[in-house]
């Protein structure tokens, strides 16, 4: 009974790790520096696991198709969408969005879709990456 774990321990030694070592094999001590290095091609990033089909990531907005009916605004549970009366288009603040895709379902012209992008962490809720318009 005492040593019943030994087979598992041995098997474990030759198995690949269960987790994906994203973004690098060892956590970089300075993430900003690491990202800069990646930008210059000095370091390499281990890519994240691929997202499945139908994943709910950053919203894509096809501005041309939008008719300004404001239905998405009415049914968005997070009040993440703002109406721009001048252009009759919408503006989505992803910092408030909960990625429920309800706006996609309700839009009559299907101009909203959920994308694959999910690395959206930012220190500024109003940064350009977090606003879709």
């Amino acid at each position: 009974m005492r040593f019943s774990m030994l087979p598992s321990v041995f098997a474990q030694m030759f198995k690949k790790p269960w987790t994906n070592k994203f973004p690098a094999k060892y956590a970089p001590s300075n993430t900003t520096q690491f990202l800069a290095d990646v930008g210059e091609g000095k370091a390499e990033i281990i890519p994240p696991i691929e997202t499945p089909i139908g994943f709910r990531g950053k919203i894509k907005y096809d501005k041309e198709k939008c008719i300004g009916c404001q239905l998405c605004i009415k049914y968005c549970p997070c009040e993440a969408i703002e109406f721009k009366p001048k252009t009759k288009k919408i503006k989505i603040y992803l910092a408030r969005c909960c990625f429920c895709s309800q706006c996609n379902d309700v839009c009559p012209t299907n101009c909203l879709t959920m994308g694959e992008e999910f690395l959206l962490a930012d220190t500024d809720p109003y940064s350009k990456d977090l606003i879709v318009e």
Binding site: M1, M5, W18, P52, I53, G54, F55, R56, L71, K74, Y75, C76, P77, C78, C98, F99, C100, S101, Q102, D105, V106, M114
Partner: protein
């Protein structure tokens, strides 16, 4: 934990009430004599989030996502019970296929939740390898959830009058593969939990809830079924597609032939339920009829229909932790609910802690409390007031006490 000698034989340990991880903030006061718990007192209702009030400013579609956020682990159960309530109030017929899809989502959530619980329970008695093992299984369950719904935790899959995403034939191989993975690993998990000496020593005879107490205190879900009470909303009211499926009450005597109502029984109970859930998903996949998945795809039209509703509805759903009840009332003027009331299962399972904990040791608090599967958080911070000197027992200290006890019983 140091203690000074006083003339008083017992002292009090207040537990809670607030911790960020708490789903339902709760306050316990333990009366302790030496290592034994003499008495327990529970106070509820410390933080009121106003979720129900917030619903009055939102239309039912928005409330679905609000309901989802009552609890992260039960993120299907709350919208499910809410939808059932709205559908009763508005007399909406749900297509049959959607009913089956709802069962699949509900049971997948039960698997995820029970596996998570198994890991936490093992962690509480200091068995961390099992925690990592269960997390591995749970990760697969979450991946499957993501594949079926698009999100990992807050699924956003329920809608009034149906369900938002279909399961197409090309998705079935992946689902079947994952179900087989669960089955294989379930056997391993069963072996660890049911045959391991340490787990038996810590859980058998600990935190007993008698059938009488379970009935008297209205315990729900696995907590009450582990005490031998046959109570399960899925069987009792056969909502969704449960009426067409082969499902029966599960009590621990199915496996062991007797009901003790202790922590060990609650472990058996949950493991048996995981197995039952896997079976139910398989049945659904085999029996699912073709057809629509939502009764009214045009949401504005649905809202107009709800606007005219003047009435009330009650929705009951068997969440992983027990019966969740939602009550909804519409006034006929606006589509926003006039009132909405939620009764989550942990609420019923808090009072049974009193008979469970009485007579146990301090080191048993974590595992006994965890055995009812609350969002294990009350033990996160314990302050001991002893002779007007106040010192705190953190979650870590309480945890290490529990781990020490495991080592002691092993010797």
């Amino acid at each position: 934990m140091k203690q000074e000698t006083t003339t008083k034989t017992s002292y009090h340990i207040p537990v809670g009430p607030i911790h960020p991880a708490l789903k339902e903030p709760v306050y316990f006061e333990f009366e302790i004599s030496g290592e034994r718990i003499v008495d327990v007192n529970v106070k509820l209702g410390h933080v009121h989030r106003g979720v129900e009030w917030a619903s009055r400013k939102r239309n039912p579609i928005q409330v679905l996502y609000l309901a989802e956020r009552i609890c992260g682990i039960c993120s299907f159960c709350h919208p499910a019970a809410f939808t059932l309530a709205v559908e009763t109030a508005a007399d909406i017929q749900v297509p049959e296929r959607a009913e089956y899809l709802r069962v699949i989502q509900g049971e997948l959530e039960r698997i995820t939740s029970h596996i998570l619980w198994a890991g936490v329970a093992a962690h509480e008695i200091g068995f961390d390898t099992v925690l990592y093992f269960t997390w591995q299984i749970r990760e697969k369950a979450l991946d499957l959830t993501e594949y079926l719904t698009g999100n990992r935790v807050t699924k956003g899959i329920m809608t009034i009058g149906g369900i938002r995403r279909d399961i197409t034939p090309d998705m079935l191989p992946r689902i079947k593969k994952d179900l087989n993975f669960f089955k294989d690993n379930f056997e391993k998990l069963r072996h660890i939990f049911l045959d391991d000496k340490t787990i038996k020593m810590r859980s058998q005879g600990a935190g007993i809830l008698t059938k009488k107490d379970a009935l008297k205190l209205c315990a729900v879900g696995p907590t009450t079924r582990a005490s031998g009470v046959k109570k399960d909303v899925r069987v009792d009211t056969s909502y969704f597609a449960y009426g067409d499926l082969d499902i029966d009450y599960i009590t621990p005597d199915v496996l062991t032939g007797e009901v003790n109502g202790d922590v060990y029984d609650r472990i058996i109970q949950r493991l048996l339920e995981v197995k039952q859930s896997i079976g139910l998903i398989e049945q659904c996949i085999d029996q699912m009829p073709a057809g629509d998945i939502v009764s009214e795809p045009k949401i504005p039209k649905l809202m107009n229909q709800l606007k005219k509703v003047n009435g009330e509805g009650v929705g009951r759903h068997e969440a992983p932790r027990g019966e969740v009840i939602h009550y909804v009332k519409f006034d006929g003027h606006s589509e926003n609910p006039y009132t909405w009331k939620v009764r989550a299962p942990t609420y019923n399972n808090i009072l049974p802690w009193i008979p469970m904990l009485k007579g146990e040791q301090i080191a048993d608090i974590p595992i006994v409390a965890a055995s009812t599967d609350p969002c294990m958080s009350c033990t996160n911070r314990v302050a001991i007031v002893n002779d007007n000197k106040r010192y705190e027992l953190t979650k870590e200290q309480l945890h290490s006490l529990s781990v020490e006890k495991t080592r002691r019983v092993l010797k």
